[in-house]
């Protein structure tokens, strides 16, 4: 046997085979949006077959009946109108909540007393369901948007602040030292190092905050719209239940779900794709 065998390979040459594209099927399966569409379609099929089998439009109307009711609601402009009312209030509350959360987190990031304040307030108020504040809100702000915005603010602030704060705390010591090495000013350090480094938690907080705001709003409208008459989607659902237009109730619920899904996929999913996934900061 020979002692040494040498093959004729150039160690510095780079072969084509070193990298090649991922096959199409694998790439499609790797697309989270596409995977979710498949899940939604499967759920829709399950609903339709159960509705057909049950055959009782007062309990569970079929998906097709619901879609027809939805189409009519959309065509008549009633559902879009209700959506707009709901979304306007929702966005106001959401943005105000984010501003409050940002202020609290900034306080917490710059002083230990601020951190204790935030931690205590979050521990106190985060477990408190927003809807439990509605009676008080009605007393303080009367029947109107003021009360809704107040409960939304409560729904959004704590969860966003809590996530941002824990995200800041989790920024690695090395990254902090790198940021200081660059000689950045305090705002530069916060916005160019801490915020992007904590972005996974911040985005998570914004997502949960959005979901909390949405469910709080619909719930509040169910209670509140009944006495006002000028409500959004929650009121639409309540009204139609009273008139036993169950397909319309489902159409209203479907709209709530659809808006939630669209925002989750189009807005948050898009942000996530452009940031965390690109940066490899996404928790797999």
């Amino acid at each position: 046997m020979k002692q040494t065998v040498v093959y004729d390979i150039d160690p510095n040459e780079r072969l084509e085979i070193a990298t090649r594209p991922v096959p199409l099927a694998q790439r499609l399966y790797g697309n989270p949006g596409l995977r979710r569409i498949v899940v939604v379609l499967a759920l829709a099929a399950a609903w339709q077959s159960y509705g057909l089998w049950l055959d009782n439009a007062l309990l569970v109307p079929t998906l097709s009946d619901t879609l027809i009711a939805l189409g009519q609601g959309l065509a008549s402009g009633e559902i879009p109108r209700k959506c707009l009312i709901s979304l306007r209030v929702l966005l106001t509350g959401y943005i105000l909540g984010i501003i409050c959360a940002g202020t609290l987190t900034a306080l917490a990031a710059t002083s230990r007393l601020g951190a204790s304040l935030l931690e205590t307030l979050t521990a106190m108020f985060n477990p408190l369901p927003s809807i439990a504040l509605l009676p008080l809100a009605l007393l303080w702000f009367g029947l109107g948007e003021g009360s809704l915005i107040f409960v939304l603010l409560h729904a959004v602030t704590w969860v966003v602040a809590m996530n941002t704060h824990s995200g800041f705390l989790a920024v690695s010591q090395t990254l902090r030292m790198v940021g200081r090495n660059y000689g950045l000013s305090l705002p530069g350090y916060v916005f160019r190092i801490l915020v992007p480094a904590a972005f996974p938690s911040i985005l998570q907080g914004l997502k949960i905050g959005w979901a909390f705001a949405w469910r709080t709003l619909v719930a509040a409208e169910l209670v509140f719209g009944a006495s006002s008459g000028k409500g959004g989607l929650g009121w639409y659902i309540f009204e139609n239940k009273n008139e036993l237009e169950i397909a319309n109730v489902f159409a209203g619920l479907l709209t709530v779900i659809a808006i939630g899904l669209v925002v989750d996929i189009m807005v948050f999913g898009h942000i996530e794709k452009r940031t965390l996934r690109r940066w490899g900061m996404h928790a797999h």
């Binding site: 090395t174 990254l175 030292m177 200081r180 090495n181 660059y182 000689g183 160019r192 940066w279 490899g280």
Partner: protein, 271 residues
């Protein structure tokens, strides 16, 4: 060249960094630990100055103090005759950890960012210099990649390029190759030497590896542990370069200085 007025570089061989009687302490929950005790050394411009010692000798603490991260309990650290204050881009640091690159920036953006944010270079100059240094560390193919797609060795190359591109007064390196596999480590050591030949930047390099110290340094400061004190200062490291028997002799001298004659003999017998 540089956009803003920057102090002229210190001529090679002249004193750049002075560490005088530096004692460093840090406080744990139960006790105050003295990391280094009255350490003196001076680094000249163009030096590849190595801080070498066993764990607990305070070599990383010394580097952090020079970086401005750790205040001195006693003594002074001066750079170009001025006491060092807070961390700053005149003392760029290369860390051991692979997460020292900003994950939300590409390789090129990571290198450009400190050059621009410190105001030392304009955006156009910074981009040009980034390309140059990326080429120097052989990462042109990966210039637009995000750090999470790179191997550990590539990340360390980016960190070195980022540090050198800033043209700091001194480049502080905290065991930058310790977390790499040994093949990559050897390769990186050669590359660092080649880069130094090219740029002649001043390095202050912390390591616990004797062979790394003799390979990279032209001067070595040996520190004893608990607390860290200067055991020896070796200024003729370069004369052993490329000579295997002289290198072996130098390394056994270092071993003896650090661990005593008995330990060195035991190691020689075991080896």
């Amino acid at each position: 060249m540089p956009a803003s007025a920057v102090a002229a570089p210190v001529p090679p061989g002249e004193n750049l960094l002075a560490v005088e009687g530096v004692t460093l302490c840090y406080t744990t929950a139960e006790q105050i630990v003295t990391a280094t005790y009255r350490v003196d050394f001076q680094v000249a411009a163009g030096d590849r100055f190595i801080l070498l010692g066993p764990s607990g000798c305070g070599k990383s603490s010394l580097l952090k103090a020079v970086g401005g991260y750790l205040p001195t309990t006693e003594g002074h650290i001066t750079l170009r005759g001025h006491p060092v204050g807070r961390p700053g881009p005149d003392r760029m640091m290369v860390f051991q950890e692979f997460d020292q690159l900003l994950p939300w920036k590409t390789v090129k953006q990571n290198i450009i960012f400190p050059m621009v944010s410190s105001g030392k270079f304009t955006r156009a100059e910074a981009a040009e210099r980034a390309d140059l240094y990326i080429a120097k560390v052989n990462l042109t193919r990966a210039a637009d990649s995000f750090p999470h797609t790179l191997s550990g060795g590539m990340k360390q190359r980016v960190a070195i390029a980022r540090g050198m591109a800033m043209e700091p007064d001194i480049l502080l390196m905290d065991e930058p190759f310790a977390a790499l596999d040994s093949l990559t480590r050897g390769q990186m050591q050669d590359e660092l030497l080649a880069l130094w030949e090219d740029t002649r930047c001043t390095l202050l390099f912390v390591t616990h590896s004797i062979s790394e110290a003799t390979k990279i340094g032209n001067r070595i400061l040996l520190l004893s542990a608990h607390p860290g004190r200067v055991r020896a200062e070796l200024n003729d490291v370069e004369q052993a370069r490329g000579d295997a028997s002289k290198t072996r002799e130098l390394e056994s001298t270092i071993y003896r200085l650090l661990f005593g004659d008995q330990a060195a003999e035991a190691a020689a017998q075991a080896g």
